[in-house]
């Protein structure tokens, strides 16, 4: 018996002394506010106070807590000091997905007790052990110091704190691993440790007989429906359980289901025969094929052709060309995949962290061979997605297990498993050429991108399609040939990751434009202003942009800061020393919604006979804030306060299909559908609407009429691309330009970021705090892409060796919001989720080159690569 106090209450726990404190808190005491992101000390999500000092609960044996005072987020939330800190986090938007938030609050509490007015550096040092993948840390620092933006009441345009924030801050929000039936069995996937291998499963009845706690070993034979899933209806190529051959390290071949302890302690003796693996897309081109349907291993090709590039290059005054290479990038959401499934008669229900409940529903129905109606997906709070929780990685397996065993089954991927099994950002090899005339006007672009799509299709076709459309960047380029191919290899499947391949392309395009600007003796910012798309311009796909083209405004808004930061860099460089200072700039554009295809969203708003308003919102909020933004839109349209709007969220049984949370589409597409639903309902009501605190009022009287429904649907108008890549791929685009000021230590190759200035045309900022939150978080991920993130199967499979930006890696960020209204969008709004990231890495590389002359062509720009590039620099 181990005695301790937890949040002031004495507890006696009859658990082995080696039990991790995190497990004791969560499982035995039900205190699930303490989160688990890695079980290895790397993420700090499990931070608690032990006798007042920060500790990782995942590394602390319960035995060491004998007689100790343990405090968790639940305890802090019940104190005045905790509530004050929580209020500051809430107002500042310091919690996005919320999975890191309990750890942040706990770490901040230790600091504030000793030092009520900490400096920025003191906050960074004290909270440095907790990672956040969403916020970019700046708003957390501000919240701890009491310096964040203030909350504002109101609807569209107000800095309204996120509506789902309170639960994320007091530890009560339930994420994927925080809820499951008490009797749920555990599932553990058995995965290939080899990039490519044939395998033979052991004698399963004999294995079961030797492992009494294990109920079943599930394999391909147990899948009742189609043993395959995948994003595209015609390419369901990823098996729930591989059959005979595994195609990447992490490919699932079976699953053990049973009592937790038994499942965890067992190892299925699979006989592996490693086969030659192709790790390189260039080597994989032409076969032998990974999948018979793709004989040359080319999963998909996107092509855009316009004008006569060859003639334009021949006539151009200046040509720049280069080859660029990026690495696998892991989403590294702090919440690994988790959830449970249960069978209810001939129906199945799944609770899980997801970005795409409607798509999960289709996958599960397909895998189980059930009609759609028999499947219900209930999204949990989602501890970060960024594209990685669009694929149904865990759901099919859970569904098969619960169905076959007719018993609830749960699973939580470990961090190494999450990293090995889940999708990644496509590594890209890009060869590109660009040309301009003597006055700096862009003439031509030739872009060839080879994208490593890994072992299964996932979102590869989307990436191959999106990249060439965006390859010019947000500039007028009359002559274009841009091609991207997604190529199968024995690597982890590359999927969707904030920007769908566009951030990689932007690295190439912006680097070439810098060089062209230099070649014609122009300022790099002015070069971009000269070439920026403006209303009336025609893009490489032949689309005439009529409205909401704020690229030029974004770039122009940077002028004063550009001049000031460049002057400062020059001044500091004059002082000498190993640090060389530079300023970089990059532009970006990003099509909102799916490329040249229908992607509707539907919203329902129900006014009950009891006067209550129920908003059936199927758009999952993965931390980006759609639950809040959509409510603000509805509130504005109805003239009601947001508190009047009770939301039902994501549950496929209760909400219509809003489409997936991806492609930066929820504000634009679902926002517009929500607006339509609100206007539809409004049209059914006569008189002035109000809210008496419990019910909607009409002309001051509580509503007592019949139940009414407002229905809204929006599908952005697009025209599919033809064989030459001509068409209208997107109804609207986000535009942005970012500046980066930094210093490079030319003797060590290290980069110290000093400042970002980010100007984003978002159409209309429905909630400026949330928009800025996306920009901050996008920049943080752009920093990771540029400077440190490189996933290597088998070698960087944890958050120790795979580095994402920590406190101190994200410098101050100035946001400039440009509002060039989009007539199709709700109150003029577009999207910002992905645009936030695209310009960051190119701006960093531009600044490194400005500081040192070194052109980085291989990302991430780890110190040794920077030093190497410096050797070939000026």
């Amino acid at each position: 018996m181990i005695r301790l106090t937890v949040n002031g209450a004495p507890r006696a726990l009859d658990l082995p002394g080696g039990t991790r404190l995190s497990a004791a808190l969560r499982e035995t005491l039900g205190l699930t506010g303490t989160k688990i992101g890695c079980d290895a000390g790397d993420c700090g999500a499990c931070t608690v106070l032990i006798d007042g000092a920060q500790a990782c609960a995942c590394l602390t044996p319960l035995g060491q807590c004998e007689g100790a005072r343990v405090e968790t987020v639940e305890g802090l939330a019940a104190t005045p000091e905790g509530r004050a800190l929580i209020a500051r986090f809430h107002a500042a938007g310091a919690a996005q997905c919320g999975i890191c938030t309990p750890g942040m609050l706990v770490a901040a509490t230790e600091l504030l007790r000793a030092n009520p007015a900490p400096s920025e550096a003191e906050v960074e040092a004290a909270l440095g052990g907790v990672l956040c993948r969403c916020t970019g840390y700046r708003r957390i620092i501000e919240a701890v110091r009491g310096a964040g933006p203030a909350a504002e009441p109101g609807a569209v345009g107000a800095r309204l704190p996120r509506l789902d924030g309170a639960a994320k801050l007091d530890g009560s929000a339930r994420f994927g691993a925080d809820l499951a039936p008490a009797d749920a069995l555990w599932l553990k996937a058995v995965r290939s440790p080899h990039a490519h291998a044939r395998f033979v499963l052991p004698d399963i009845p004999a294995f079961l007989a030797a492992h009494p706690g294990i109920r079943a070993v599930l394999t391909a034979r147990d899948v009742p429906g189609r043993n395959g899933y995948g994003i595209y209806p015609h390419i369901k190529d990823q098996p729930v359980f591989a059959e005979g051959e595994a195609l990447y390290r992490g490919d699932a071949v079976a699953a053990l289901v049973g009592a937790r302890e038994a499942v965890e302690r067992a190892e299925l003796p699979v006989a592996w025969t490693p086969l030659p693996a192709r790790h390189d897309p260039e080597a994989a081109l032409g076969g032998p094929p990974l999948h018979a349907a793709f004989p040359d291993n080319v999963l998909a090709e996107g092509l855009v052709r316009r004008g006569d590039p060859e003639a334009a290059f021949a006539a151009a005054a200046h040509v720049a060309e280069g080859a660029f290479r990026t690495s696998f990038v892991e989403h590294a959401y702090i919440e690994p995949e988790a959830g449970f499934a249960r069978r209810i008669g001939e129906r199945i229900e799944i609770w899980c962290a997801t970005q795409a409940p409607a798509m999960d529903r289709e996958e599960v129905a397909g895998v189980l061979g059930l009609p759609l109606e028999a499947v219900r997906i209930i999204p949990s709070h989602c501890g970060g997605g960024f594209g990685g929780k669009l694929d149904a990685g865990m759901q099919p397996m859970l569904a098969v297990a619960a169905w076959v065993l007719d018993h609830p089954v749960r699973a939580v991927w470990s961090r190494p498993e999450s990293m090995a099994a889940s999708t990644k950002r496509h590594p890209a090899r890009i060869a590109a050429r660009a040309a301009c005339d003597a006055e700096g006007r862009l003439l031509a672009l030739d872009f060839e991108g080879l994208y490593d799509t890994g072992a299964y299709a996932s979102w590869g076709p989307t990436v191959a399609g999106r990249v060439p459309v965006h390859a010019t960047g947000p500039y007028r380029v009359p002559h274009v040939r841009a091609r991207a191919r997604a190529v199968f290899t024995h690597q982890p499947p590359s999927g969707a990751f904030r920007g769908f391949g566009v951030p990689q392309a932007a690295v190439a395009q912006e680097a070439l434009y810098d060089r062209l600007a230099d070649a014609c003796g122009m300022d790099r910012l002015e070069f971009r202003i000269l070439n920026a798309l403006t209303p009336g311009d025609v893009t490489a796909t032949g689309q005439r942009l009529a409205h909401s083209v704020g690229q030029r405004e974004c770039l122009e808004a940077l002028r004063p800061r550009w001049a000031a930061l460049r002057a400062e860099a020059a001044r500091r460089n004059a002082a000498g020393g190993p640090w060389r200072h530079g300023v970089g700039v990059a532009g970006m554009w990003y099509g909102i919604g799916n490329t040249g295809m229908s992607n509707p969203s539907e919203m329902r708003l129900i006014l009950g006979a009891d006067g209550r308003l129920s908003f059936r919102n199927g758009a999952v909020d993965i931390g980006q804030g759609s639950a809040t933004v959509l409510a603000q839109i509805v509130a504005e349209a109805l003239g009601l306060p947001v508190v009047a709007i009770a939301q039902i969220h994501g549950d496929t049984a209760l909400t219509p299909d809003a489409g997936k949370t991806s492609a930066s589409r929820q504000t634009f597409v679902s926002g517009r559908a929500a607006l339509a639903a609100a206007l539809d309902l409004r049209a059914k009501l006569n008189g002035a609407l109000g809210w008496d605190g419990a019910r909607v009022t009409v002309n001051g009287e509580p509503y007592a009429g019949p139940g009414l429904e407002g229905h809204g649907r929006f599908d952005p108008p697009t025209v599919p691309l033809d064989a030459e890549g001509q068409g209208t791929p997107y109804a609207t685009y986000g535009f942005a330009a970012q500046l980066c000021a930094l210093a490079v230590d030319v003797r060590l190759g290290t980069v110290r970021l000093e400042r970002f200035v980010a100007a984003h045309d978002v159409g209309r900022a429905i909630n400026p705090t949330l928009v800025e939150g996306q920009i901050h978080g996008g920049i943080a991920q752009g920093i990771g892409l540029a400077l440190m993130e490189e996933y290597i199967p088998g070698r960087t499979e944890n958050l120790h060796d795979y580095l994402i930006p920590s406190f101190g890696d994200v410098p101050p960020i100035e946001c400039i919001l440009i509002e060039s209204p989009e007539p199709l969008g709700p109150y003029g709004a577009k999207g910002v989720g992905e645009p936030a990231l695209v310009a960051t890495a190119p701006a960093i590389l531009s600044a490194i080159r400005d500081a040192t002359g070194a052109q980085i062509a291989h990302l991430p720009a780890l110190p040794h690569r920077v030093l190497e590039a410096l050797g070939h620099g000026r």
Binding site: P16, C56, G63, L127, E797, E868
Partner: protein
């Protein structure tokens, strides 16, 4: 996750009891757990979750803290980084304090121990270079008695120590004279916090310099380096960076 429900676990209050359990049960030794638990997680990810018996040394108060007896500083093996960070007992311990401030985050510093850092024997262990320049020795206890090994003998290679199966590291011993001159520590990694060193250097005003993460075990500068290519950096880079860090550390001491 939340995989490890460990069975046998002992947390004795005395060294004698600990040594007895060690001999009888052959458990894994546990101090702050900041290396032990991550290793269990990694192992569980690709196979059966291990469930080792654990002998937790943190209940032995005598193994914690820094004291001076005669000409020797004695750092208890169970002393956490936070103590070394906040209260360096002599100018020569400044490098160790600066290293401690950069090991993991506050969570790791509060619980991870200097003894665990040495016993884990990572090539990138930040505790080793600051102790090498202090001419430190490692004290080990077993039922057979005490012995003391120079730190360099205690660490024969990457992930290897000279500890016998029945031994517990009880202290790190530093000659008082070696700790009189001030020292500095420079660490190079690819991000601001929670980063494993690409290279690190400890240097003393008395002229001793040691370099870590550039060979299987940290070395004194005059012994030369033997860096490797890995995911964090190339060998050539490590060599160049170490040279630069050494120059900077010397410059800082001279300033």
């Amino acid at each position: 996750m939340e995989r490890t429900r460990l069975g046998n676990y002992w947390r004795p209050a005395t060294l004698e009891a600990a040594l007895r359990i060690l001999v009888e049960q052959a458990p894994r030794l546990l101090a702050g757990g900041t290396d032990v638990y991550p290793a269990l997680t990694q192992a569980a990810a690709w196979g059966a979750a291990p469930a080792p018996a654990l002998l937790d040394l943190t209940g032995i108060a005598a193994l914690r803290g820094v004291t001076r007896t005669g000409g020797t500083w004695r750092i208890g093996a169970l002393t956490p980084w936070a103590v070394l960070r906040d209260a360096p007992p002599a100018p020569g311990f400044r490098a160790l304090a600066e290293a401690a401030a950069q090991v993991g985050g506050r969570q790791i510093q509060a619980r991870g121990t200097i003894g665990g850092n040495l016993c884990n024997a990572s090539p990138a262990a930040d505790g080793v270079p600051p102790l090498l320049i202090l001419d430190a020795a490692v004290e080990l206890a077993s039922p057979r008695g005490l012995r003391v090994l120079p730190l360099r003998e205690f660490l024969p290679g990457a992930r290897r120590t000279a500890r016998a199966a029945d031994e517990i590291v009880t202290a790190i011993l530093v000659p008082v004279a070696a700790a009189e001159a001030p020292s500095v520590f420079l660490k190079l990694g690819a991000r601001a916090h929670l980063v494993i060193s690409i290279a690190m250097v400890a240097a003393s005003a008395n002229g001793r310099v040691a370099v870590g993460a550039c060979s299987e075990v940290a070395r004194l500068w005059e012994e030369g380096l033997a860096p490797i290519d890995d995911v964090r950096a190339s060998a050539a880079y490590r060599r160049a960076a170490a040279e630069e860090l050494v120059a900077r550390a010397r410059a800082r001491l001279a300033a």
